[in-house]
């Protein structure tokens, strides 16, 4: 296990480096965007005096590096600053939305991961059959439809009849079951969007192994096809599957802006896009860091799980 801990430590250190560079990049990019918060908030109604007043008030008149360093200084002390737009602490703004985003991501993952694993395994089991080709074609079709389009189709089918709500309103104090019900359509949309990728990888990873001598051995031991796949192929195909699942989970957390817009879901993506257009840099930075951390952590988790799933790496000679 020691080497696993060492790997985790190493990767975390690298992760922090990545986060630092990401923050610098995002800060620089928002700097390059035309206009700043003062101009964005005032539009053309801005008189030079009001712009100057806002800039002075928020310290936007400081040079780039000064603002970055002071922002970084704050972050290192756990202070992400206040939103330029409404003055609230960034942490407060983000906490609830992060929860919502994670909830939706987990909800979608809870449907998508078992579904895509099952479909991938079945497709591998009945490879080249009608089932395999059809599920493959359907999966490809579903990923080639843009997310908002998938969402609209689901709304047409499930929301207009009143079966499920077309916009998500998460009020205080509603039950968990009610929350699941209200979030069903966005979660289903995301499920459709990510399932195909995971399913194809699962299928490919398993089929990739089927020519191995140990699979032939298992068959020669009289094991049934399903047992051959589940017990003999799957454990060895875990690493690539875990990786693609992690990648898709990262996507579910960071890439769902469009779904959030269509279902009016109060998540981080919407906050990020709004803040970019307002040049609300502290919020942009914080959300970007959350996204980047999610990516780094999920990658790390995937690597750790791959390692744990591989006896060669876990049990050295």
């Amino acid at each position: 296990m020691a080497h696993v801990w060492r790997m985790i430590a190493q990767r975390l250190a690298l992760g922090f480096l990545t986060l630092f560079v990401v923050s610098l990049l995002i800060f620089g990019a928002t700097e390059l965007l035309p206009g700043d918060f003062a101009e964005a908030i005032l539009g053309q109604s801005a008189t030079p005096e009001t712009i100057a007043a806002i800039r002075r008030d928020l310290g936007l008149d400081q040079p780039f590096h000064t603002r970055y360093v002071s922002w970084l200084g704050g972050v290192l002390q756990g202070d992400f600053g206040n939103s330029l737009a409404n003055g609230q602490p960034v942490i407060e703004l983000i906490t609830k939305r992060l929860g919502n985003t994670l909830f939706l991501a987990l909800y979608a993952a809870a449907m998508a991961v078992p579904l895509s694993l099952a479909l991938g395994i079945l497709a591998a089991l009945f490879r080249n059959s009608i089932f395999d080709r059809m599920s493959n074609a359907l999966a490809l079709t579903s990923i080639s439809f843009p997310e908002f389009f998938v969402a609209y189709i689901l709304i047409l089918w499930f929301a207009q009849s009143g079966m499920f709500p077309s916009i998500v309103r998460l009020s205080e104090g509603i039950s968990f079951g009610e929350t699941l019900y209200r979030c069903f359509l966005p979660a289903l949309t995301l499920t459709l969007v990510v399932t195909a990728h995971m399913m194809r990888m699962t299928r490919a990873a398993i089929i990739n192994l089927l020519a191995s001598p140990y699979i032939e051995m298992a068959r020669l031991k009289g094991m049934s096809p399903i047992r051959v796949i589940l017990r003999h192929a799957l454990p060895n195909a875990l690493a690539p599957i875990i990786n693609v699942v992690a990648l898709n989970l990262a996507y579910l957390i960071t890439g769902v802006v469009v779904v959030e817009v269509v279902f009016v879901y109060p998540g981080l993506g919407q906050l990020m896009v709004d803040s970019v257009s307002r040049r609300d840099i502290p919020v942009v930075q914080a959300v970007a860091l959350i996204f980047a951390s999610a990516y780094v952590l999920l990658n790390l988790t995937a690597d750790v799980l791959s390692t744990l799933s591989n006896p060669r790496l876990m049990h050295r000679r």
């Binding site: 020519a211 009289g222 060669r312």
Partner: protein, 544 residues
């Protein structure tokens, strides 16, 4: 030996079996009308070159064909059950329970994801023979019988934590788990070192005897089959050549093909006169090398001369290949140096000039991985000539053609082929041609024949021999096979655990007294005598 005609003891009957394989989109026969009978408790040796259909036949005895193959005619009857027409479920109920299989490479055939004991108990539990608990207890006793170290614990290791020889024994134990009536052994010792091979052979022989299990033992090594089988069947290109009981077959083979197989072992080239050897073309001087902190080569020195072959012998892990990597510059040594024509060569190949790179060439063990599968022979062979000798256009084409002539491949037919369109022996010849194309003085041959059938290997050895005389080449010949050493070497270096334990002229090496390790190596080479293994085990037991 069992009576062949005693129908009550008959376990397996194969009649007029035809198996077809799919290549491109055509079906072509692999097994052509073979009959096979096997009685309870009997061991049948199946022998032939690769491509003869040994494995296909062995698997067919289980009613199993690999993907892309199909049984097109004939019957396979196991203990009264028609395996060819049996339902999949019915056949599965037999596999692993009454018919078991031991594969060539245990390392590849054990599932890397599960512990040995779990894989052992899988068949008994799934087939309902015994509970998991019972299976684990049973495994311990079988492991013990297979003389595995620490039989109580070894099952709880993963395959990669166990050595190749031990794995092969564990696999045999796994095959025995349900006490099957029939085991198919598919070249179970081919991938092992000679010294390890002995132990595995002995273990297999014991256990088969103990449980009176019938077996089909597939191999290309005559000496091995001589130790294991009651009867031997010789296959050639999917057809039976002849079949007889072991002693008869060994002493008086009837068919020309069988005789030629038997004759391979007799090849040995003429002993070269020890002339004035002059400056060594390559010298290894006091080299210590290794990876990271591990020392793989420990203060090693030896010389190579033009026109002579030095065989470097030892088991895997003895440092043979590491020495080759030091010479080529892939692994700069920690201490010591490599001289070429008396001058020190840069330790790292990246610092060597083009001529230094050209003079030392290498031929690899696995031609499959040594030839870029996407390049045609024209480029594979032509590239060194183009690079080093600056040949272009017509001249280059001429050169490639003459090289193909040299390695006895028809240029018109082969020049535009891909490696995948060649047989194993032909691939190895391409490796040789590629080395020759650089017009080197010195070639490293790293186990160049160990992946080949004996007849093919012999052809390669003869070719290398001829080329050496023609171009006055110096060879470093790395091998673990003493028969090959006997065939081709002028001088021998014996290595063990990174040190040279003995070196000298071949004639001297094969004469006692030996270094004990050399003795062990020499005595472990199987001989064609059916009693050899028993004698050897007896004498070793007596000695120690």
């Amino acid at each position: 030996m069992a009576d062949q005609n005693n129908a009550q003891d008959r376990l397996l009957t194969i009649r007029n079996l035809w198996i077809e394989g799919q290549s491109e989109d055509k079906w072509s026969p692999i097994i052509k009308g073979v009959d096979l009978d096997l009685n309870r408790g009997e061991v049948l040796g199946l022998i032939g070159e690769s491509g003869a259909g040994k494995s296909t036949l062995g698997l067919a005895a289980m009613g199993f064909t690999r993907d892309g193959c199909r049984i097109s005619d004939g019957t396979v009857e196991f203990d009264g059950i028609d395996l060819r027409n049996a339902q999949a479920g019915e056949r599965r109920a037999l596999l692993g329970k009454r018919i078991a299989y031991v594969a060539q490479s245990a390392a590849a055939s054990f599932n890397p994801a599960h512990k040995l004991i779990d894989q052992y108990s899988e068949a008994p539990v799934v087939h309902g023979v015994m509970s998991k608990q019972q299976a684990e207890t049973d495994a311990t006793s079988l492991y013990e019988q297979m003389q595995l170290p620490d039989p109580g614990q070894i099952g709880f290791r993963y395959p990669h934590q166990v050595s190749g020889g031990q794995l092969q024994r564990a696999m045999t134990a796994m095959a025995m788990a349900c006490r099957p009536d029939l085991i198919i052994f598919d070249e179970p010792t081919t991938a092992l070192d000679v010294t390890t091979q002995i132990e595995v052979l002995a273990a297999i022989r014991n256990i088969v005897k103990e449980f009176n299990t019938a077996a089909i033992y597939i191999t290309h090594d005559l000496a091995v089959v001589a130790q294991m089988a009651d009867r031997i069947k010789v296959l050639l290109k999917g057809e039976e050549v002849e079949e007889a009981d072991t002693r008869t077959m060994l002493s008086s083979p009837q068919e020309d093909y069988t005789k030629s197989l038997w004759a391979v072992r007799s090849y040995a080239r003429a002993e070269q006169e020890e002339t004035d050897k002059g400056t060594p073309v390559v010298s290894v001087r006091n080299v210590t090398a290794g990876y990271g902190d591990a020392i793989v080569l420990d203060d090693v020195s030896f010389d190579f001369y033009q026109g002579r072959t030095v065989a470097v012998v030892g088991e895997s892990g003895s440092g043979k290949s590491t020495a080759a990597r030091v010479i080529t510059g892939l692994l700069p040594p920690k201490k010591g140096e490599v001289l070429f024509d008396g001058k020190v060569m840069p330790a790292d190949y990246r610092s060597r000039d083009r001529d230094q790179l050209r003079q030392v060439q290498m031929i690899y063990q696995m031609a499959d991985t040594a030839l870029n599968p996407k390049l045609r022979l024209r480029e594979l062979i032509g590239r060194p000539a183009q690079m080093y000798l600056g040949l272009k256009g017509k001249a280059l084409e001429e050169r490639v053609r003459s090289l193909l002539d040299l390695i006895e491949l028809e240029p018109d037919q082969y020049i535009d082929r891909l490696p995948s369109e060649l047989s194993g022996g032909q691939k190895q010849r391409i490796g040789i041609a590629r080395a020759l194309a650089a017009e080197p003085k010195f070639i490293i041959c790293d186990e160049v024949t160990s992946a080949l059938d004996q007849l093919v290997a012999e052809g390669i050895l003869r070719l290398l021999d001829n080329l050496q005389s023609e171009f006055n080449l110096g060879y470093m010949f790395i091998t673990h096979d003493l028969a090959t050493v006997r065939a081709i070497a002028d001088d021998v270096v014996v290595m063990q655990q990174g040190r040279v334990v003995e070196q000298g002229r071949k004639a001297a090496m094969f004469q006692p007294p030996h270094h004990p390790y050399t003795e062990l190596l020499l005595s472990s080479v199987p001989e064609m005598d059916p009693d050899w293994l028993s004698e050897l085990l007896k004498s070793r037991a007596a000695a120690g």
